[in-house]
Amino acid sequence: MKDLYNYILTIADNSLILAQRLGELCGHGPSLETDIALTNISLDLLGQTRSYYQYAAKIAGEDKTEDDIAFLRIEREYKNCLLVEQPNTHFGYVIGRQFLFDVYHFMLMEKLQNSKDETLAAIAKKSIKEVSYHKRFSSDWVKRLGDGTEESNKKMQEAIDDLWRYTDELFFVTEAEKEMTKQGIGVEISEFKEKYYEEISEILKEATLTIPENKYFTKGGKEGIHTEHMGYILADLQYMQRTYPNMTW
């Protein structure tokens, strides 16, 4: 049960932290349409997170609720990958981060639909419909910015170059994932690693961007070792629960 709990969080925490990052853009998007789009995506991810956390809370027992899991863990207990916690430096970074995650997320959901765990399979079947919209949006923008003006191309390239180092971690396998895959519940992520880089490369090429050759990759998030940005995210995210313990809306 501990492995299943951890496995659920490995998937769900990505959605929570990315939703939080996108939520920061509410009212600050570069245009009205992108502002609405990014917060819509945030809402989808948050909805998915709730489904996962409700399930995880049920497994944890001890009267745990989805809110405890979202708000009352310490940094080391969050299992999201480093990619999703990277800041909204500029619109190129927002789109780059979204794109690199969406392509992965879609492939993960495709496989998770066949999980032996009925609840996870149901969440995946629901989520994949939403994620396909996200992927279309972010891929479209990578192409628009990459194949846009000299300035937009430069900024998009800068973001992809900077974020590239976090892509390998998406395929890092934790102990919980190993165990869950063995039981037919988890997804064998290595199976689509090649396909992931192929699809990414194809879109980058179409966007007239250069595929980074950097082979230096960073990891740690999935095991709770985060970049310095994580503390700031949690300070924002957990503020209300830490200041007014057990408050409800």
């Binding site: 009205l32 809402l43 989808d44």
Partner: protein
């Protein structure tokens, strides 16, 4: 409405009075989000499925259902189910018509939906003047289920209900 939904006939009149807070002309039945409604030992048990995972309307709908049944002296329990996942195919024909009259364009087929959301074809019918000379303004609209369009004939902006399958 989904063909597989199991809804007891005597509960339908009450269910019809509860609508989507974002699209008030659409009852929860026409929207196809009621998966099951049965009365057991005096308690109405309802299974509700969300349109989109994060749709805030779901909490409101669940509360409205309970309130509607309490008005006729019945207790209702609402459970959220995810599987099978909701599809725009579950919106009834009557629901689609009401939606159009309300000013929201109805979802197209899956392949046409992609065409219009990438602004490659003009297929969405303007709910105001009926023209298909329309273009996409934003893939995402005022709620998760809609995209924003504009009619190039009558110049009115309008919502398009995205296809979800």
């Amino acid at each position: 409405m989904s063909e597989t939904a199991h809804i007891e006939t005597h509960l339908i009149p009450v269910l019809k009075t509860v609508s989507d807070p974002e699209i008030p002309v659409l009852s929860v039945l026409a929207l196809g989000v009621i998966r099951e409604a049965v009365e057991e030992d005096g308690i109405v048990k309802i299974k509700l499925t969300p349109t989109y995972s994060g749709c805030p309307a779901m909490d409101v709908i669940a509360d409205d259902l309970k309130a509607a049944f309490s008005e006729i002296g019945k207790i209702a329990e609402v459970e959220l189910v995810l599987s099978p996942a909701w599809s725009t195919d579950w919106i009834s024909e009557e629901g689609l018509q009401k939606m159009e009259e309300y000013g929201i364009a109805r979802p197209l087929s899956e392949s046409h939906d992609i065409d219009v959301l990438l602004n490659e074809k003009k297929l969405v019918k303007c709910p105001q003047c009926g023209s298909t000379n329309t273009h996409l303004v934003s893939q995402f609209g005022s709620t998760a289920c809609k995209a924003l369009f504009k009619c190039d004939d009558c110049l009115e902006p309008f919502d398009y209900f995205k296809c979800l399958k």
